[in-house]
Symmetry: C2
Subunit: 447 residues, 2 copies
């Protein structure tokens, strides 16, 4: 009896041991599953809240590399209209964009067929293009490339990871599973970021067009709002403004002359000096700008646009218009616009005069400190690199100068030019002489 | 020995039984956990791709009710600038908005303190406001109200669910856990939807301002682009356009006269008839509109704006300008804008004439079918409710007529008015007589 019982007990133990073993395995699997879900949920949180296209692409890149322990990652976005795949690479001095035909190479195959590709050595696949490796000295081995599909199951891009760091160097089923879930999240958010990006571009485009057309009512002021905006942003750079501040200043500057829509053409384009009442009529444009802008909808961080735009003719000594505000009661951005506006007016032709010589313009800026201008803003303006100022004057844009000019201007700020030109040729170094000569050449070269 | 062994075995069995019991419980919990995560991941996908603010709020509402088996749900969004909580309720005829001070009632408490509230019977809580129940006859019992926090942990809104359908009628810990995760997802996406909403509002605002200011260069055309847009949208309604088509038509109509920025003021505002060369100069505005719009950035589904805006002076018989396109080669939306543009021009004062009597305007639309206008579009225009046309003529907006006028116009389309007025008083029903009299009264009442 006792023997039998012992055998029974033995069997019972074995059954129980089998069950616990199964349960333990099941638990392992569940915990493993949960670990992956938890990782993905935590990634999802970060990815799902990023609406900036460039930052999102960088984030997907980083998350994919970390999650799959891969050495490199490229996110390609499908541009269906152009039939291309593009990818942006952040570099030290900005970003560069790669564009390839949408059916070229491994990424192209994945984008057009929607099929994934997982190979231990890319060099065994004839679709792989070795040129990039040749140029960079990199050796691609394991490669996993998957489509990014939106909710409608359209392929909108491709994620490609290279060279697994561990586990024998190839991507396994779990990697595929992980990248698939990540790709879905990425695709979803990519569409949102593109939507935001397009709305932003459309808004910028209509604001820029509006600024350009207002200026173009008088051919002689064409490009004025754009250049004023660019000068303002150069000062913003010197004052270490953050992106939100730069946006506020940019839109305020682009829209500062909007009120000119209400100024009579005959006055706006009059040849020669204005009569008193005509001058008063022109001055109304500031109040009108502010009134029109006030009726527009701007989100919270842009709500000061009317106030700032309406302050671009105030002077720190209180002798400006329309409010005769003085000193700090004029918004800083209004004070910045004040100097940018005057600088552009003096360096360009007007109906009643030619462009003023650059050294005279700078002398006015200097001497008007504490009268028209805030000394802090004048100082910041004088700290802007000469190359940027010259490029804006000549090309209505930054970074458009030939390489030789860039080299001549390197290390010189606008204040250095002013100091050199004031000292006169005999007191200038060789570099300064080249600087002065070339800047004045460029300045006078404008038709 | 055998006894001892049996006792040992017994103990071993007990240990194993304890372990399996623990493992089973653990498994249950893990499976339960996974079920919740799976549900949430599936919800997350739907929530994370919704960028339309109203649709998102409805979705959060539905998901919360389903997930927590609750009878009702309200999503409140914090408007920090106004110090209010708002909630939108979709109704049959549009949507209504509720706004309460941000610290009022249960929702206000949660919004200001960031603490959750979970109570079996709301009537036991003095902060609960019974007025809504009194008005609707509803009886609120169980109530769970939680803050929605963004990634920076700021409370940006509140989710409140009412009356659990099962489980003894109160919300438990698991409900709290579920709603917390859902609230986090919701908060995240809410910020995105608000960002998109604000960008969209800013874009609309700048486009509308631009249209209004272009019209305002000549006081006599003030409001023209807005009214043309509203007429176009009425026709779009008759033609069952979808939202994307309506947006394309709306922006094209708002921007159709943008090129007038390039027309000389003296010609634009000339009293009396125009000379031939002046008329030609005015005509250039169409080409200019198209050229300026072409340089702007529009996303894919709006890319036809320049083409459509540039076609608003074409005629179906090929005698229009600038391309002398005929029939279907003129974009449908261009043909719609053509009739809306003429209708507004004739029903409003011009420098060289007063508004034309409404019956003469409609006679022109009818007789110009297959000459200036597309008969399909004329038919659609004649199908628009009289009340909408009258409201646009008098108030530059739809739905602004007094209730009596709305009642008089009910069931009549513009074509009914035209037919009645053509038949003459003797051939009109009593309703038609009232219709004709009141419409003409309104039409002539404009200063």
């Amino acid at each position: 009896m006792s023997d039998l019982s012992s055998a029974e007990l033995q069997k019972q133990i074995e059954d129980l041991q089998r069950e616990t073993k199964l349960l333990r395995a099941e638990r392992e699997e569940l915990i493993d599953d949960k670990r992956i879900t938890d990782i993905l949920l935590s990634k999802s949180d970060a990815i799902a809240s990023e609406t900036d296209l460039d930052k999102l692409l960088t984030l997907i890149n980083d998350e994919a590399r970390e999650l799959l322990e891969a050495d490199r990652c490229t996110v390609f976005v499908l541009d269906d209209e152009k039939g291309e795949l593009w990818s942006r690479v952040a570099t030290g001095i900005g970003r560069s964009e790669i564009r390839i035909p949408k059916d070229m190479g491994i990424a192209g195959h994945v984008a057009t067929t929607g099929e994934s590709i997982n190979i231990p050595d890319a060099y065994d696949d004839p679709r792989f293009n070795r040129d990039v490796d040749k140029a960079t000295g990199y050796r691609t081995r394991a490669l996993l490339c998957m489509p990014m599909r939106n909710r409608q199951q359209d392929t909108i891009g491709v994620v490609q990871v290279l060279n697994k760091k561990e586990w024998g160097g190839r991507f396994d089923d779990k990697d595929e599973k992980l990248l698939e879930i990540l790709s879905t999240m990425a695709a979803n958010q990519l569409e949102i970021a593109q939507l935001v990006d397009e709305l932003q571009k459309m808004f910028d485009s209509v604001v820029e067009t509006l600024a350009a057309t207002i200026d173009a009512r008088d051919p002689i002021t064409a490009g004025h709002s754009k250049r004023v905006t660019l000068y303002c942003l150069q000062v913003a750079e010197q004052l270490n403004f953050d992106q939100k501040q730069k946006d506020l200043l940019r839109y305020s500057a682009l829209l500062h002359d909007y009120g000119k829509i209400g100024v009579r053409e005959a006055v706006l384009t009059k040849d020669g000096r204005l009569e008193d009442d005509e001058y008063k009529h022109i001055q109304t444009h500031v109040v009108l700008s502010k009134e029109i802008l006030r009726k527009m909808y701007f989100r919270k961080d842009l709500r000061a646009i009317p106030e700032i735009a309406g302050a671009h003719h105030e002077k720190v000594d209180g002798s400006g218009y329309p409010k005769q505000s003085a000193g700090d009661t004029i918004p800083l951005m209004g004070r910045i616009m004040g100097i940018a506006d005057v600088f552009d007016a003096l360096t360009y032709k007007r109906h009643y005069r030619d462009p003023m010589p650059i050294e005279r313009v700078l002398k006015i800026l200097e001497s008007e400190q504490n009268k028209h201008f805030d000394p802090l803003v004048v100082r910041s303006f004088f700290s802007v690199p000469v190359s940027n100022i010259a490029s804006i004057i000549v090309h209505d844009a930054v970074g458009r100068l030939p390489k030789e000019d860039e080299e001549t201007f390197t290390r010189y700020a606008l204040g250095d030019f002013y100091s050199a030109v004031t000292r006169g040729k005999d007191q200038q170094s060789e570099g300064e002489r080249r600087l002065v000569e070339r800047f004045i050449d460029l300045y006078n070269s404008r038709s």
